[in-house]
Symmetry: C2
Subunit: 273 residues, 2 copies
């Protein structure tokens, strides 16, 4: 290669997020539904819901969002969960490809943003192998909605110049320098699917010098009517998490407490435990 | 504190991202416009644009998005740029508060997501000091739209269990363990406003053992009609960046190359330099 390749978009690419038309017959659109509140759908994805012939959707896509599908749409719950699909990944890929081959406009709807812990690549590979065109439509990721609800930023001058998105499933593979970086004062991270790994994360961070008083906030069911916010510290994380008995998807923010004014405006604070 | 504080949302909080009503007279809504394509607006922010009495918007909010403002809206370009506001931060805060005090529905519109490098906190503090209520409406951050356009995920099983968002402005403060973590094979990071720091970042990463062949992709004007994608490597980053002569906002993805099929579908590849 003698120089950089530049892709211009005078002709929009089928898979470009930006300037694309709607859905294409015989192709697949991978789209993010956001974290649950239908108002957090993008205009593009809202339109795709109305246009699609077939919608393959994950367990965490809310019923209120699925209610926006067009009357012609065939809805298929592929029920993929954090700890493994109910419908196997192979089955999801096979169905997606089969529908596209019959000339359908296929919408593969994932909770949040398909590019963030969405296992998107396996499904793109299936499209490629079958010669099926695709596009990717971004969505609001849960961390973004959750942090807004506690009146905080993911980044802040003088506090943290970077933010990290992690998944609780994969943190066992972390190296020492990852933990050291994460344990530093002021560091902010959003842990997806972190409920099961809370005690492990706490132990590693404290081992790497993190302050036990580091603020930690859990946001369950971000953006949904049943959203709950649990304010705790690194020291109390496993205890408070157990006491809270969270049943929905939860984000764990390391290094962030709810902003005081966001708390003060709530007249529904409760003391747990 | 004897236990975690739980905030339920049976009554929606004014500042909750999720279940809020529209704009409130005498309050400020901080909203993300996404990276430029109006189709990437959320339904919530699209509605806020129609309802607002006053919209204070940043330089990077696209003209196509501002065209969606209601006819009653007073539009104020506060022109904040990456390297410092044209209108001072104090002035922006003062105007925002003054409009809210006259009972207006104030929309403070920021490019991308206000919680990601949006300097949101200073403006929230101004609202608090003035006793003005606020809410935060998330937006699609540029990294999300940009990565979708190159057919990639920010995270991928077996490659990277975490992704980091950084700003080129602040990386001088990075510690050795930050660079070590970032230099590791398979690591993925999105650098916002990274054009000026490209050579510095390259030098530090190579010093910390990063492979010179690490893929790097630059996405200029993500999601806009004039989006450009520059595929390069860590080794060639400063050279190719200079040759590309980027004038718009650009994201730098460390550790990601455009997916082959995303490239192959383009019939407009060009060789630069």
């Amino acid at each position: 290669m003698t120089g950089p390749i530049t892709t211009t978009s005078h002709k929009p690419l089928p898979q470009q997020a930006g300037r694309c038309c709607g859905l294409v017959a015989g192709e697949v659109a991978f789209a993010g539904s956001g974290p649950g509140d239908p108002d957090l759908l993008t205009l593009k994805v809202a339109r795709a819901l109305q246009e699609a012939d077939v919608i393959l959707f994950d367990r965490l896509v809310s019923a209120e969002i699925m209610a926006l599908a067009g009357p012609q749409a065939q809805l298929e719950d592929v029920g993929k969960e954090g700890f493994g699909p109910q419908v196997s990944q192979e089955e999801i890929c096979a169905r997606m490809v089969a529908h596209a081959r019959t000339g359908k406009k296929v919408l593969r709807l994932k909770s949040g943003d398909p590019t963030v812990f969405g296992r998107l690549d396996e499904e793109l590979t299936a499209c490629e192998a079958a010669g099926i065109g695709y596009q990717i439509m971004p969505g609001i990721t849960a961390a973004s909605a959750a942090v807004a609800s506690i009146g905080q930023s993911l980044t802040q001058r003088g506090r943290n110049a970077s933010v990290r998105f992690l998944t609780g499933h994969d943190m066992k593979g972390f190296a020492d320098h990852d933990w050291a970086a994460l344990a530093r004062p002021g560091e902010v991270a959003a842990i997806y699917m972190g409920k099961k790994s809370a005690r492990f994360v706490q132990g590693r961070l404290i081992m790497h010098g993190a302050d036990r008083a580091t603020p930690v906030t859990l946001v369950e069911n971000a953006s949904r009517a049943d959203q709950r916010v649990i304010e705790t510290t690194l020291d109390r994380l496993p205890t408070d998490l157990a006491a809270a008995n969270l049943t929905g998807p939860a984000l764990t923010f390391l290094g962030l407490a709810p902003r005081a004014s966001a708390q003060a405006l709530s007249d529904l604070k409760m003391e747990l435990a």
